[in-house]
Amino acid sequence: MPASTPPASPPSFGTLALRWYRLNRGGLRATAIGIISLLAFLLAWHLLTTYRVVFFVRFTNVPSPLAVYASFTKAIHDPKFLLHVLLSCRRIFFGFSLAAIVAVPLGLIMGRFKLVHEIIFPVAEVLRPIPAIAWVPMAIMLWPTNEQSIVYITFLGSFFPILVNTLHGMSLVDPVLVRAAQCLGAQERSIFRDVYFPASLPHIFTGLTVGMGVAWVSLIAAEMISGQYGIGYFTWEAYSLVQYADIALGMIAIGVLGLGSSMLIRGAGQLVMPWRSR
């Protein structure tokens, strides 16, 4: 019997825990520091508002975290608040989805066919620098209902980031991959479907993420100016009605919704591009 093979016993719980800790030390550290940092932010907010600090910036009327929490517990039982949130989400859904449905195929086609690029690109470049908010008066004139014009503003906000990134992705497609596909008998259609499209996907998703951010920016601005509902309107209304805690609540709600929607896109990206997940 060889002496060098001791009977294998399963490692004890302590050993496993220690190993797990060693392997995940970096992540644990980041999480711990993240939690501490958030708590410190809350504490600073609490102190600044409780003592009504005035130091260049005036915290006199700023609501404290506890006041915001109180209005939050009230709001989640208030169907009107939920309606505000729901309507904003619906506008984002329609505006953003329309933008993606139009901008992605348009970018792919512009990237593949020079003539289409030459025709559309100049117009896009002229319209692109106009902020979506600047479209508000024009949108109100263009569309029969307020709802449509707000969705249109949201659409415009996300349209250009998606288009530009899709174009960028198309311009970076490795020509060797196209040649490899041709050598394997691929015709134009399958080269588009099996090479250009998947090769551009990472950039398309960058465009979708950026576009989602701009969609929220545009939506909130549009709601503040011309809405009757929506979380942007809620925030602005709170200011007019001197309900200061609701201002902060509206802001936080916008932040959470924005974060949630960009996480949805990231999740979709991982589903669609399994080759990119480590």
């Binding site: 050598c183 394997l184 008998g185 399958s190």
Partner: protein
């Protein structure tokens, strides 16, 4: 009888009176001139030459990616008009589709031909098995080593049963040890499949070790400087690379290429740089001088 006729040797590459130039602001630039090459069915032929001599240009013209300015490229008497699955190609940069698994990459050519899913899955598995890659069929290329990627690249190019296989410095990015193994694998596959191979490389040892014949190209504008038959017996062994026969071939090719490389680097290098190579160090080591 007709079976035999149908199975008559295929993959006869012929390049005649070939030249290729492209336009620039200073006028047309000649990349390749006055070139004739051929590859007989089942033959393994390499093209070597200094960098920029147009050997890849020539290969790309055979693949159908570039149109000759003058002359003609034919395979089995048929004019090459564009890329096709009849001419499989392996690229230096591996060029696997990152979004397809190893097996999907190998299946791609069969899918383009309209083969049913189950059938092409079986074919791809068999081919991957031959290359020792069946365990990796579900992996994405990113996870593979360079040697494995290029094995997939070769298998993918062979999957559609092309008449000829074109390789553009396929092992250039691999380390020396992997390269030697890949050369052996390629030789084995070639002998088994009896396919015509046109192989572009700047590695003289590689060209001699693999080929039946080697074309040596001149500096730009490229043309054929010499055609050297390699009479080494097959199957070839790694040990042959030390034989006097191999070394003689190597010396011959080396001096041909050296002449052209110096030409390719232009006049100034022969005046200044070549003097530089004879720097008198007066007993000091290079490190001291620098």
């Amino acid at each position: 009888m007709s079976e035999i006729v149908a199975k008559a040797p295929q993959g006869h590459i012929e390049v005649r009176n070939f030249s290729l130039s492209y336009d620039s602001i200073e006028g047309p630039v000649q990349a390749v001139t006055e070139t004739q090459i051929h590859v007989k069915p089942g033959e393994f032929v390499s093209i070597v030459g200094p960098s920029g001599c147009g050997k890849s240009t020539l290969l790309n013209a055979v693949a159908g990616f570039l149109k000759p300015t003058t002359g003609i490229v034919t395979v089995d008497g048929e004019k090459v008009n564009g890329p096709s699955a009849e001419r499989g190609m392996v690229f230096q940069q591996y060029s696997l589709f990152p979004w397809k698994t190893v097996r999907e990459n190998v299946e791609f050519g069969l899918k383009m031909r309209g083969m049913a899913r189950s059938q092409r899955e079986r074919a791809a598995r068999t081919l991957l098995g031959l290359a020792g890659l069946e365990a990796f069929e579900k992996h994405y290329p990113e996870k593979l080593s360079g040697g494995m990627k290029q094995r997939v690249g070769i298998v993918r190019a062979l999957a559609t049963g092309p008449k000829v296989l074109l390789l553009d410095e396929p092992f250039g990015a691999l380390d020396a040890q992997t390269r030697v193994i890949m050369q052996q694998i390629l030789t084995n596959m070639w002998q088994r499949l009896k396919i015509s191979v046109l192989f572009v490389t700047h590695d003289i040892d590689e060209a001699i070790f693999l080929s039946d014949r080697v074309y040596c190209m001149t500096a730009r504008p490229g043309s054929i400087k010499a055609e050297i038959p390699i009479p080494l017996e097959r199957p070839r062994q790694q040990s042959m690379m030390m034989s006097s026969e191999f070394l003689a071939l190597r010396r011959g090719l080396m001096s041909l290429i050296r002449e052209e490389s110096i030409k390719a680097m232009g006049g100034e290098i022969s005046d200044l740089g070549m003097q530089g190579l004879n720097i008198e160090l007066h007993g000091a080591s290079l490190a001291d001088v620098i």
